[in-house]
C-alpha cells in the first residue's frame, strides 16, 4: 500500500534555510545540507526546497546547492523557485532534483505546465499553489508570496486553478493555505477537503502544522497524499519520528 508522506519544507534564500511566520520576518534556520541530512536520518519521506526569493527577483534558482544536496541525499527532493522555462527546469533536474515545482511563473503563463509535462513527464511536474480565503468566502490564489511587499491577489479561484493545472499536466499539487501558514493551529481542513474533491493527482497539504495530531487529522479528514511542514521541524518543536509514531497508532499507512 502506498504510504502517506511526511515532507519537511526548507525555504532557501542565499544558500541558507529560512522560515518565518505568515511568510514575513524570515529568520535563518540553518545550513541546507546539514538540515537535509538531519531530516533524512529522522525518516523524512521527501524534501521540498523553495527558493523563496527566486520569483520576485526574476532570477532562476541557483544550482550549486542543488548539486550538494543531490550528492548526500538518498530520498527524493523537489525544488521550487523561479523556474520559468523548460531550460530552467532541465538545469534543476540535471543538478539532481527529482521534481520541479512551479508557482508564480505558472500563473503568469499556464502553458509552462504543459511544456514541462511534455519535456519531462507529468511525474516531474509539481504545481505549488498559495491560496487565501477572501472576504467573499472564495479561496483565491496569490502570486509572489515569497516577498510580502510584492504579493499579489489574483482573480483566479483556487479550485479553478487546481482543475486547470491538472488539465495542463501537473503530476502533483502542493496546496499552501496561507491563512494557516506559520500559526501552528492545524492544517486548513475545509480548504484541503474542497481541493481534494477536484484533485485527482497526488495532493500535498501545506501550512498550519503545530502538533503531531494535526498530521493525523489532515490525513484522516482530507485524504491528502502528503503533509508538508517547516518551522515545527526546524525548531524541533515536533520531530518526524514522533509524527510517524502517532500516525502509526492512528492506523495511517506510513514508511517506518
Amino acid at each position: 500500500m502506498l504510504t502517506r508522506r511526511i515532507i519537511p519544507c526548507l525555504d532557501v534564500r542565499d544558500g541558507k534555510v529560512v522560515k518565518g511566520v505568515r511568510f514575513a520576518n524570515h529568520a535563518i534556520a540553518g545550513d541546507i545540507v546539514e538540515l537535509a541530512q538531519r531530516y533524512r536520518d529522522e525518516g523524512a519521506d521527501e524534501l521540498v526546497f523553495y527558493d523563496i526569493a527566486a520569483s520576485p527577483e526574476g532570477r532562476v534558482v541557483e544550482r550549486a546547492w542543488i548539486d550538494r544536496v543531490a550528492q548526500v541525499l538518498d530520498i527524493p527532493f523537489s525544488v521550487a523557485g523561479g523556474i520559468r522555462s523548460v531550460d530552467d527546469a532541465r538545469a534543476v533536474l540535471h543538478a539532481g532534483a527529482d521534481k520541479i515545482s512551479v508557482n508564480s511563473p505558472a500563473l503568469e503563463r499556464p502553458q509552462l505546465v504543459a511544456e514541462l509535462a511534455d519535456a519531462f513527464g507529468v511525474q516531474c511536474v509539481v504545481v505549488g499553489i498559495d491560496s487565501l480565503r477572501d472576504d467573499d468566502g472564495q479561496w483565491r490564489v496569490r502570486r509572489y508570496s515569497g516577498d510580502p511587499a510584492r504579493t499579489q491577489a489574483l482573480a483566479m479561484r483556487t479550485l479553478d486553478w487546481v482543475v486547470e493545472a491538472q488539465r495542463l499536466g501537473a503530476g502533483e499539487i502542493v496546496l499552501n493555505c496561507m491563512g494557516s501558514d506559520g500559526v501552528h493551529d492545524g492544517y486548513d481542513i475545509e480548504q484541503l477537503r474542497a481541493v481534494r474533491d477536484v484533485c485527482k493527482v497526488p495532493l500535498i497539504a501545506s501550512g498550519g502544522a503545530g502538533v503531531t495530531q494535526h498530521f493525523c487529522e489532515v490525513f484522516e479528514r482530507c485524504d491528502v497524499d502528503g503533509a508538508l511542514a517547516a518551522s515545527v521541524f526546524h525548531s524541533a518543536a515536533i520531530t518526524i519520528p514522533a509524527v510517524k509514531q502517532s500516525l502509526r497508532e492512528a492506523g495511517v499507512a506510513i514508511r517506518p
Partner: protein, 196 residues
C-alpha cells in the same frame, strides 16, 4: 577494471544515479559510446520521462542493437526498466523486447496516478539482486505505467492492482522504483547489482 557505465539517454535522474553509486564508493561513466558500453562491467539504463521519447533517443544514438546484445549485467531503472519490455501503451511504443510483457497505464481500485511515493515490495522469486531486502521493504516509486506480474517478476508491488517492481531475464534486470532515492533498501539493491 572495466567501469560501470551509465547510458546517457537523456534521463533527468542520471546525476542522482551517479551520486548513489558514488555513495557506495563506485565511480561510473556517463556514456553514449557503444564500445564503452560493451566493455563495461555493468551497465545501468536510467530514465525519466515518456517511453516514446526514451526509445527515440536510443535510436538516435544508434544504441538499440548495442543494448540488446549486451552480455554483462544490465539494470534498467524506472523508464529504463520499462524500455526493456516488449511494448508500452504509452504512445503505443515498441520497446527493446528483452523482457516479456507490455506496460499498461495504472488504473483501477480508485488509486491516484501517477503512483508517487513509498510503497512496499513483495518478493516473488529469490535472487541475488534482492539479498538483504525483505518483503515489506519500502521503495520510492514515481510512474504512471507498469508491467503485469509475469515470468520475469522478482518482486511485485500493489497500486490499484499488482505490478512488477523488480524484474529479471537472463542478464537484464529492472526496477520500477528509484533505488537511488529509496534510502538504505535502494542502496542495497544497487550494491547487490554491482556484485552480480
Amino acid at each position: 577494471m572495466a567501469a560501470v557505465a551509465l547510458v546517457d539517454a537523456g534521463g533527468a535522474n542520471i546525476g542522482s544515479v551517479r551520486y548513489a553509486l558514488l555513495r557506495l564508493g563506485v565511480e561510473s561513466r556517463l556514456t553514449i559510446d557503444a564500445d564503452t558500453l560493451r566493455a563495461a562491467s555493468h551497465v545501468i539504463l536510467p530514465g525519466v520521462g515518456a517511453a516514446a521519447a526514451g526509445m527515440a533517443r536510443l535510436r538516435e544514438l544508434r544504441l538499440i542493437e548495442v543494448v540488446r546484445n549486451l552480455t554483462q549485467p544490465v539494470l534498467g531503472l524506472c523508464l529504463g526498466m520499462q524500455l526493456l519490455f516488449e511494448h508500452s501503451e504509452e504512445g503505443d511504443t515498441p520497446c527493446l523486447g528483452l523482457l516479456p510483457g507490455t506496460l499498461r497505464r495504472l488504473k483501477g481500485g480508485g488509486v491516484r496516478v501517477p503512483h508517487m511515493g513509498w510503497n512496499r515490495l513483495r518478493i516473488e522469486r529469490a535472487h541475488r539482486l534482492l539479498y538483504g531486502i525483505e518483503s515489506g521493504a519500502h521503495m520510492y516509486f514515481v510512474h504512471s505505467y507498469a508491467a503485469d506480474v509475469g515470468s520475469a517478476t522478482l518482486a511485485s508491488c500493489e497500486h490499484g492492482g499488482e505490478f512488477s517492481a523488480v524484474v529479471q531475464s537472463r542478464n537484464f534486470f529492472g526496477a520500477q522504483f528509484h533505488p537511488e532515492r529509496s534510502a538504505a533498501a535502494g542502496a542495497r539493491l544497487l550494491s547487490n547489482f554491482l556484485e552480480l
